[in-house]
Structures are given as structure tokens and as C-alpha cells.
Amino acid sequence: MNWPLIALVLTISLPLLGALLAVASARFGDWIAGVIAVGTLAAAIGLLFFVNAQGAVTLAVGGWAPPLGIQLIADGTATLFLSTTALIMTIVALFSARSILRRGRNSREMHLFWPLLLLLWGALNAIFVSRDLFNLYVGLELVSLASVALVAIEGSRRTLAAALRYLLFALTGSLLYLLGAVLLYTAHGTLDLGLLAAQLGPDDGLALAAITAGLIVKTALFPFHVWLPPAHAGAPTPASAVLSALVPKASLYILLRVWFDAGPIETASVAMTFLGALGAVAVLHGSLMALRQQRLKLIIAYSTCAQIGYLFVIFPLAAAPAVIGTTGADAAWQGTVFQALSHALAKAAMFLCAGLIIEAVGHDRLDRLAGTARAMPMTMFAFGLAAISLMGLPPSGGFIAKYLLVNAAFDAGAPLWSMVVLIGGLLTAAYLVRPLAATWRSPKDDPNELPPGFVDVARRRQLLPMILALASLALGLFSLLPVTLMGGRP
């Protein structure tokens, strides 16, 4: 038996199979999702250790190598994304079991939520192991459609409007991406990234620009972020957690793969600087918007807009002439992957915390949250730990990301880019202290008072965001394994 290959196949097929089963017998969606989640989590973590021990696992589908067939490759970075996704999805599934079930076994939510969640999971995993522009396109489309449907699940007028806006942006992004892919195929006769790597040159500028533009629309990089806050804040909370933590990472992952596996980064330094600049503006704009919000979920959603900006600093850093072939390029790559992973864990934790608060208090308006920290200390502790990771303070994955990116900026001879991360951290602190302080405050200055209308939430469920928050801290403390898996700049 070739266990690594089986694990690789399972990470994609299990969630998709689960999605089908959940459609067929919607009444037991929660049970199906639970079993599938455990299986996929085990497969992903097993794969991670296989890859750590023996190197990347390659599967030529149907036994045909490229250019004839399609290859799935699980390298270190891919397995890290697979495992992080599996952890978040499992926690989200456990978290949702209760809140979805409350609407009844025959409810609309029960029929829609589980198949969509599992479909999204399968599509994400497919993206992480694909190295073929068309395969990636299919994954991307599935991700977008599942996400849009998840946003619309409640069916209220507000969420439908948000979903529609999201759909328009997603479709535009897909079209641009498809255009680029078609151009590349016409020019080079292949869509495999490994084969394209040797062939891309200045003539492919338009194609690469189209692909990049399409992907940054889906990643919600400034100025294409306007769809994100209403969609992520309007979706049911468990869905928000997945949408904010994982979905933008999928398109970013493709963007990184395209440019770092195949793209001529060094010759496109102007374009790369432009991407970096957009990232910097995203950090600034997202943070300032987050500072102005009065609702917790909106703050967290705008925080995603801001944090996505960090992920684009890698482009100018990797393109800088001083950095090529040095450890600085590796540091930039590792820092970006660390940021993507730790943001995913921390952001999912934060949305789940927000979900618990809404369950307990009935709303998420900051000005009426006084006393919440006293009423549900574990939740707010998890929120605080997640905030530490997002601010990039030690010891957390966010800090390691900041450390690596600042080092890379110095190595690249462009220390100004480090300011994006450093000042970004400061702004993050500014907007995340607001909800922390708002919940810490006592109502009527009486430390024993609980928030009005408070309904207790089970300790068990408060533990779920805590696990994710601790995972994002652990990423910073036990960072040797992840950094070995990431390897250097591809």
C-alpha cells in the first residue's frame, strides 16, 4: 500500500464524498460532516508527517505525467495548508453542529450548510495540491460558488445583497483568470506550472497581468475588497470563520504558485512593486476602516482586508535584485506562508468568539458588550490570544511572520517594506483593543454585573475557538517543523 498517495487522494475525495452524502441524507448532515472531518484531518496530518519524512508526494492522475495528464503534488507548503484547513474545518464543524441543529433537522440551513461546507473544503484541498492552471481554475470556481452560497444561506435581504455583490466580483475574477490561462495555453500549449516555468517571458505580460488581476479580485486586495466586509460579516458565524480564514488564502495560494513556480518575478519588478504598494494601502485602509466600525463582526472582517495586505509584501521583496539567491528570499517566502497560516487560525478563532458572543448576548454592537469578558472569560481569553497573533506579538505565528518579513526587507535592501508589517501591527493593536476593552468594561461600573439579556454558553463550545487560538500561538513556538516544511523560496 502506498499510504502517502492514499492520504493525498483522501484529503480531496473525502470532503467531496461527504458533500454528496450530506445532500443525499440532509437530516444527518452533522454526523456525516463529523465523520468526514475526523477522517480528512487524520489524512492531512498523516500526509504532513509523510512529507516531512520523505519529501513531496506526487500523484500523476491516471498514470499520465504532464503534459498529457494532470499531476497532484503535495509538498511541504501544500501539506501545511491542508492541515491548517483540516483543523479549522473540523473545529468549525464541531462548532456548527449545535447552532445549525437548533433550526431543526429538516431546516433549510441543515440542507444547505453541510454540503456547502464540505464542498468548499474539498475544493480548497484540490487547489492546494494542483499545479495546473485549469485544475486550479476548477477549484477556484468551486470555492467561489460554495462561498457565495454560504453567505446567502440565511436568505435575508441584506445577506442576499452581499452575496450578489460577492458573486459579481468572484465572476469577474474568474473571467480575468480564465482569459490569462487561455492566453498562456495558446502561446505555450500547456497549463502545467512546472512546464510553463521554463517558457514564460516578456511576451506573456498580458496573460500574467490578467491572471494576477483576477486573483487579487478574489483575494479582496485593496481596491477590490469592497465585497468582503458585508459578505463576511453577514454570513452565519461558522461560515464567516471559514470564509475569512481560508477562502482568500486559496486565491493567494494560486497567485504565489503562479509567480513563484513559473512567473518571471525578477523581470517584472515594477509590477511587483505595484502589488506591494497595493498591499501597503490595504493594510492602512483596512485598519482605518476597522477602527471606525461599531460591530464586532465588521471589525474582524475589515481586519481581514488589512491582514491580506501583509501577504503582498513578498512580491517586491522577492523581486529586489539584492535578495535573489540569498536567505532573504527564503525569509520572505516563509514569512508570507507563516502569515497566511497564522492569520487563518487566529481569524477563524476570532469569528467563532464573535459567534459565541452573539449567541450569548444576542448582538455584536461594541457599545453594549460591557460585562461580556466577565460573563464568558474563556471566549474573551481566546479572542485575546488570537489578537496577539494578529498583532504579530510574541510568541505567535504572527510574530514569526513579522520577524521573517522584516528580516527579508533588510536583506532585500528595502527596509521601508518592513514598515508595512511594523506599522500594520500597531494599527492592528489599535483596532483590536477596542473590542477587548469594550467587553472588559463593567456595566454600570459594577464588576459583578453581567451584560443585559445574557444567556450562558457551554464551556465545551467556548473551548473550540481556544483550540484555534492556541494553535496559532503554537505555530510561533514550535516553528521549526513548519519552517522546514516550507523550505526556501521555490
Binding site: S418, A437, W440, L480, V483
Partner: protein, 487 residues
């Protein structure tokens, strides 16, 4: 086994803190024994290590985070100086806090963060590299915030906001300084210092300035001091710990490390950075004292006194000579003992007699004799009356100033002593020589709130009286400085 001593010492405050978070409000006995037990174990471990380090042994634990980035815990004589102080005062403050809070709400949360705060302070003392130092320094910021805003009312929330508004930008400056320096000189361990020969002086000066901002904020160096008086909104045990060991001392300790173990005195002198830093410290000393004169609240006057006194340490470090360094280092301990005494007493006055303003102190000496005696001893020590702790410091700083060619330091010390007298003597006068409007005697009970103050007050007399012995703070700092200057 003994290799793991530094880790055990850290665990002795971390583990109780973590368990405490999960305790219910009414599990008083378990919570108290956990925290006191942790503090006692820690003190025991430290006493053991004092003997070892005195013989020249050193402990080291290294834990890799990334290739080239590691957490390094190292026990040396300087680390032990700070750690002994923090362990001792933590134990006493825990006693005090248990008695002081009695059955007030949110105690598990309080003691949890309190333990984390001490964990971070110990980590700062044990840090063997700049990066490790930064990690614990940040942890200290984070674990202090919940203590500052413990009362959860509008004033304390505002104090917490101000605290973070100063702390966060300072931490960015510190991180930038560290990463910039490490980019140029490689990972910096305190034991060998950084190799700065290849770096141009202007860059070094900018990096040093960033360090001053990053550390000066916690050490309440003017103009980065305003958060400290505001943080008085915290409960008394927090103020005591904040002013004596945890936050301000972490900043001052950082200055010792950066000037001596990172840049090295020769480089600091060659770059012409010592004297400007000494001047900034002198300015802080005088400014803090003058501001203290104008305060009418007891705790606020004490707070500005801290602003002033902590800069004695920085002054000693910046003067870059052996005697001045001894003066600065020994003040790390002396100021801690005296200031914590004053804060314990201020807490007792407030809690038992409702006295917060200076003009309410009239005649309190007769009514609360124990508290008032301790307060008086602490205040006299601060003024520098011989043979108390503050006197020893000032002598060494003064001679050190002459030795380093900065005779104006004597003037600063003299002016500061006068100012200290001017803002403490009126209090002592009111306590003992004015008659009280009321005759009732507020009880100085339970023992837990008064015994710690008595111990620290006696200690602050003893460290002055027995300064010449080997294991006095002065003896120990002399050992540290001898090891630095005669390797």
C-alpha cells in the same frame, strides 16, 4: 538536571498562573496556596542558584525557533540580581494582595495575570539574547494591561488605553532596533555582545536611539513617562509591583543589558552616546521630582517619585564607569525595596482609613503607627538619609560621576536630594506632628497587609546598614561589575 533550572524557575510562576485562571472565585485556599507555593519554590531555586553563580557557574538553555532565531535563557550574576529582587517582592506582594483583596470579585483572573506578569519579569531577567528579551518584554506589556484595568471602571479603562498607547509604539521601536542590529551583526547574545566594528556610526546612533525609545517608555524616561501616573488607577498591589519590580524595572534592566552587554561601554562612549543619555536621565530625575512636588494625591506623588528614581539607574548605567554602574545597579534593588514599602503603606492608608490625599494624613501616625513608621522609613530612605539604602546609591553615583568626568552629576544629585526632601518631609511632618481631626484607630489588620510593609521597610534599612557584606545588594553588584571589568 540542573541544566533545566532556568526553565523550572520560569515554570514556578507560569504553572500556578495557568491553573489559577481556571479556579472559581470561592476557591480561596487553593488559589492562595498555589500562588504562595509557586513564589516560595521560586525563591528556593534562586537561593540555590545564588550560591552556584557566586562560585562562577552559569546555566544556559537554548530552544530553536527558526534557523538563526532562538530563545536563550541564561543565568548570570546580573540576571540573579533582578530575579532575586522580583522573587522576593513577588512573595511579599502576594501576601499583601491576598489580605488586601480579601473577597473582592475577579480574584482568579487577577492572580492569573499577576503570575504571568512575574513570569514575564523573570523571563526578562533570564534572557540571554536580545530576541528573547523582546519576547518577554512584550509578554510583560500584555500581562500588565489586565492588571491596570482590573477595576473595570472608566478611569482604569482610560489608564489602560494610555498605557497601550505608549507601550505599543515603543515595542515597535524596540523590535526595529533589535532586528536592524541583528541584520547587521547577527544574533546578539548578551554574553559576548555584538560585533559592531563593521557598522557605520550614524546607523549605530540611530539604532541606539530606537533602543532608548523602546526601553525608555517602560522606564518612564521623560518625555515617555505620562502613562505611569495614570496607571495609578490600578489596585494597590499592582502599583506596588509595577513601580518596584515589574514594568519600570524591566525598562531600566534593559538599559543595563543594552549599554553594557550589547553595545559595550567603549562603543557607547566612542559614539558619544553616554553623556546625552546621562543628561536625559538627569532631566528625568529633576523633572519627576518637580512634578511630584505639585501633586496632592499620595499615590500620584509616589508615581512621579518613581519617574525620578528609576532614572538613577539609567544615570548610573549611562555614566559608563564601574562605580557609577554599581550605584545604578544597586539602586535597582534599593529603589524596589523602598518604593514597594511606600506603596504597601499607601494601599493600607487607602483601604483602612480611606486616605488618598496628602492633607488627609494629618496625625495618622498615632492612629496607624505601624503603617506610618514603615512609610516614614521608606520616605527617609528615598531622600537618601544615611545609613539607609538611598544614601548608598547616591554616594556611588556621585563618585562615579566624578570618575567619569561628569562632575555636574553631583549637582543633579544634590538638587534631587533637596527636592526629595521637599516632597517627602511635609508628609512625614503631617503624619507625626499635626493633630488628627478624628481619634478613632483604623485597625491595621489582617497581618497580611502590614507584615510585608514591615519586612520591606526593615530590609531597606538593612541593605544600607549591612552594605559591606558579600551577599548584600551592594556586595553582589560589586561582584557583577568586577566580572564585567575584569573578565
Amino acid at each position: 538536571m540542573s541544566q533545566w533550572l532556568p526553565v523550572l524557575i520560569l515554570a514556578s510562576s507560569f504553572a500556578p498562573a495557568m491553573v489559577t485562571f481556571f479556579l472559581e472565585q470561592n476557591q480561596h485556599r487553593l488559589r492562595n496556596s498555589l500562588n504562595l507555593g509557586g513564589a516560595l519554590i521560586k525563591l528556593g531555586l534562586i537561593v540555590f542558584m545564588l550560591a552556584e553563580v557566586a562560585q562562577g557557574n552559569a546555566y544556559e538553555v537554548r530552544f530553536d525557533l527558526l534557523p538563526g532565531a532562538f530563545i536563550l535563557l541564561r543565568v548570570d550574576a546580573l540576571a540573579l540580581l533582578f530575579m532575586t529582587l522580583s522573587a522576593l517582592l513577588w512573595l511579599l506582594t502576594t501576601f499583601f494582595a491576598i489580605a488586601y483583596f480579601d473577597n473582592k470579585p475577579n480574584l482568579s483572573r487577577f492572580f492569573g495575570f499577576f503570575g504571568l506578569c512575574v513570569f514575564a519579569t523573570t523571563g526578562i531577567a533570564l534572557s540571554g539574547s536580545l530576541l528573547t528579551f523582546f519576547m518577554f518584554y512584550e509578554l510583560l506589556t500584555l500581562s500588565t494591561w489586565p492588571l491596570v484595568v482590573h477595576k473595570q471602571n472608566a478611569t482604569s479603562m482610560a489608564a489602560g488605553r494610555t498605557y497601550l498607547r505608549y507601550a505599543m509604539p515603543a515595542s515597535v521601536a524596540l523590535l526595529l532596533a533589535i532586528l536592524w542590529l541583528e541584520h547587521l551583526a547577527g544574533p546578539v547574545e548578551f554574553v559576548n555582545g555584538a560585533d559592531l566594528s563593521a557598522i557605520d556610526p550614524t546607523t549605530l546612533r540611530i539604532i541606539f536611539a530606537l533602543f532608548v525609545v523602546g526601553l525608555g517608555m517602560k522606564a518612564a524616561l521623560v518625555p515617555l513617562h505620562s502613562w505611569l501616573p495614570k496607571a495609578m488607577a490600578a489596585p494597590a498591589p499592582v502599583s506596588a509591583l509595577l513601580h518596584a519590580v515589574a514594568v519600570v524595572k524591566a525598562g531600566a534592566f534593559g538599559f543595563v543589558r543594552v549599554v553594557h552587554d550589547v553595545f559595550g561601554i567603549e562603543t557607547v562612549t566612542a559614539l558619544g552616546l553616554g553623556i546625552p543619555l546621562a543628561m536625559l536621565a538627569s532631566l528625568t530625575i529633576l523633572y519627576g521630582s518637580i512634578k511630584a512636588l505639585g501633586q496632592t494625591g499620595i499615590k500620584r506623588r509616589l508615581a512621579f517619585s518613581t519617574v525620578s528614581q528609576v532614572s538613577y539607574i539609567i544615570l548610573g548605567v549611562a555614566l559608563a564607569g564601574p562605580l557609577a554602574l554599581i550605584g545604578g545597579l544597586v539602586h535597582l534593588v534599593h529603589q524596589g525595596l523602598m518604593k514597594i514599602t511606600l506603596f504597601f503603606c499607601a494601599g493600607v492608608y487607602d483601604e483602612r482609613a480611606g486616605i488618598r490625599q496628602i492633607d488627609q494624613l494629618d496625625g495618622i501616625g498615632e492612629r496607624m503607627p505601624w503603617t506610618s513608621t514603615c512609610f516614614t522609613l521608606g520616605a527617609l530612605g528615598m531622600i537618601g538619609l544615611p545609613p539607609m539604602a538611598g544614601f548608598v546609591t547616591k554616594i556611588y553615583l556621585g563618585i562615579g560621576g566624578l570618575e567619569s568626568g561628569a562632575p555636574w552629576v553631583i549637582g543633579v544629585l544634590a538638587a534631587s536630594t533637596l527636592l526629595n526632601a521637599a516632597y517627602f518631609l511635609p508628609l512625614i511632618y503631617r503624619i507625626w506632628f499635626r493633630s488628627s481631626p478624628s481619634k478613632d484607630r483604623p485597625g491595621e489588620r489582617p497581618l497580611g497587609i502590614i507584615v510585608p510593609a514591615v519586612i520591606t521597610a526593615l530590609a531597606s534599612v538593612a541593605v544600607g546598614l549591612f552594605a559591606a557584606t558579600d551577599f548584600s545588594p551592594l556586595g553582589w553588584t560589586t561582584l557583577i561589575v568586577e566580572r564585567t571589568y575584569r573578565p
